[in-house]
């Protein structure tokens, strides 16, 4: 169980790296992005193995990604979105989206009422999970900036370098 979580976290890092290269991030940020993706994945999969629902598990993962992204932004001198967007992409609910889409297609040509109801239930369930996981990811990443209430992270209290200069 534990090794399975670790392996999934390891691969989540590579999913983040792939998207980072697609988005053409600066080269110095590549290894931090692997770490942040793996960390978000680890948090999500650990939460899920503790029987927390997939929506909240993704939210926790995204909040951690958001907070660490701000620290890394200072460390590597790049805006936080460079770390946070590739960091949450491994948590995207691809399989739910796929099942939701299949269900919607199936609903267009089922005649039997019982089968229709069964498919409808499953489709709505998958669609709701997909929607709320996406919202949780977006909100989770934005939360550190919302709580710090600063226009730029250079002015926030996370920036120890600036504070020491003042």
């Amino acid at each position: 169980m534990l090794t399975e979580i670790l392996i999934k976290g390891f691969w989540a890092g590579f999913a983040a790296i792939g998207f980072a290269i697609l988005f053409n991030v600066p080269r110095r940020t590549l290894f931090p992005i692997w770490c942040i993706g793996a960390m978000g994945g680890l948090i999500k999969f650990t939460s899920m193995s503790c029987e927390i629902s997939v929506v909240f598990a993704s939210f926790f993962g995204a909040v951690v990604v958001g907070v660490v992204a701000i620290q890394l932004a200072h460390l590597k001198d790049s805006p936080p979105l460079i770390f946070s967007i590739p960091g949450v992409i491994p948590m995207i609910p691809g399989v739910f989206a796929y099942k939701f889409m299949l269900g919607m297609i199936a609903l267009t040509n089922i005649e039997n009422a019982d089968a229709y109801l069964q498919t409808l239930i499953e489709t709505v369930n998958n669609g709701a999970k997909m929607m709320f996981v996406l919202i949780a990811l977006g909100t989770g990443v934005a939360i550190p900036m919302l709580l710090s209430r600063k226009e730029s992270i250079k002015k926030s209290k996370f920036n120890k370098k600036k504070k020491a200069m003042a």
Partner: protein, 255 residues
């Protein structure tokens, strides 16, 4: 009072250039506003700004409101480029802290524009690796991961080529989705791997509109409702194109 070294027109033009670069590189609305205001402050001007998805409207004023300049600029829809976002962020602090001139700013911008992307082979192989990572996360084994890798690499190649041929961007996504899922679907038909449906579902994940969707939530939370809704709809159309690609392949292959 600080004397103005630059005229309002050149300041306005350079600000619009920076704003449109940020918009097409995938920055959210608040970042665009803050960055443009910071640069304007560094040059001694105030700005009023309207940001929409495809155009920017800007007025720059000096403090006495004697000189002003207004212009509208269309932003071009380009690919996401975080190297540009990072470079412009550095640039804006340099303007504020080391009082750069407009000439220095435009020099830096042309340097940033000339920065290379990663080599195509590296992009293809790492995105392929990301695809197989998605497959592993969804519970696939090594054979399915290999199928996803191949499907992703060829799908992304098709998307790049379609973009070069200047197809509609949603059509590019559709073509890529069809190609990737066709390869994964053929693997399913020939019974390659124990859970071929995992490979089929994850083979198109490299197309997910991550930047539009996350920027959409950020914009909505920061009160830029119009831009947030527009970005969300853009993301939804991309997701719909992916779904149509999968649908087409399932219809062709009867799986």
């Amino acid at each position: 009072m600080k004397t103005l070294k630059e005229d309002a027109q050149s300041v306005g033009n350079i600000l619009l250039e920076i704003g449109s670069l940020l918009m097409s590189s995938g920055a959210n609305s608040n970042r665009i506003r803050v960055t443009m205001e910071r640069i304007a402050n560094g040059l001694g001007y105030k700005t009023e700004l309207l940001i929409t998805h495809r155009a920017l409207m800007l007025t720059v004023l000096d403090k006495d409101q004697q000189y002003f300049f207004s212009r509208l600029k269309r932003t071009s829809p380009h690919g996401v480029n975080f190297r540009m976002v990072s470079g412009i962020s550095h640039l804006s602090w340099n303007v504020l802290e080391q009082s750069w001139t407009v000439a220095q700013i435009s020099e830096e911008i042309s340097r940033l524009k000339a920065l290379p992307h990663y080599p195509r082979l590296i992009i293809l192989s790492t995105v392929g690796l990301a695809g197989s990572a998605f497959c592993r996360i969804a519970g696939g084994s090594y054979i399915e991961m290999l199928v996803t890798f191949v499907a992703t690499v060829i799908g992304l190649f098709i998307r790049q080529e379609a973009t070069k041929l200047k197809f509609n961007p949603y059509m590019c996504v559709y073509f890529a989705s069809v190609t990737a899922s066709l390869i994964a679907g053929l693997a399913e038909i020939y019974h390659i791997g124990a859970q071929p449906d995992k490979a089929f579902a994850t083979s198109v994940l490299f197309l997910v509109p991550g930047v539009p969707l996350i920027n959409s939530v950020t914009d909505l939370l920061e009160g830029n409702l119009q831009n947030g809704i527009i970005r969300a709809i853009n993301g939804l159309i991309i997701a719909f194109s992916i779904a149509m690609g999968l649908f087409t392949v399932r219809m062709i292959l009867h799986i």
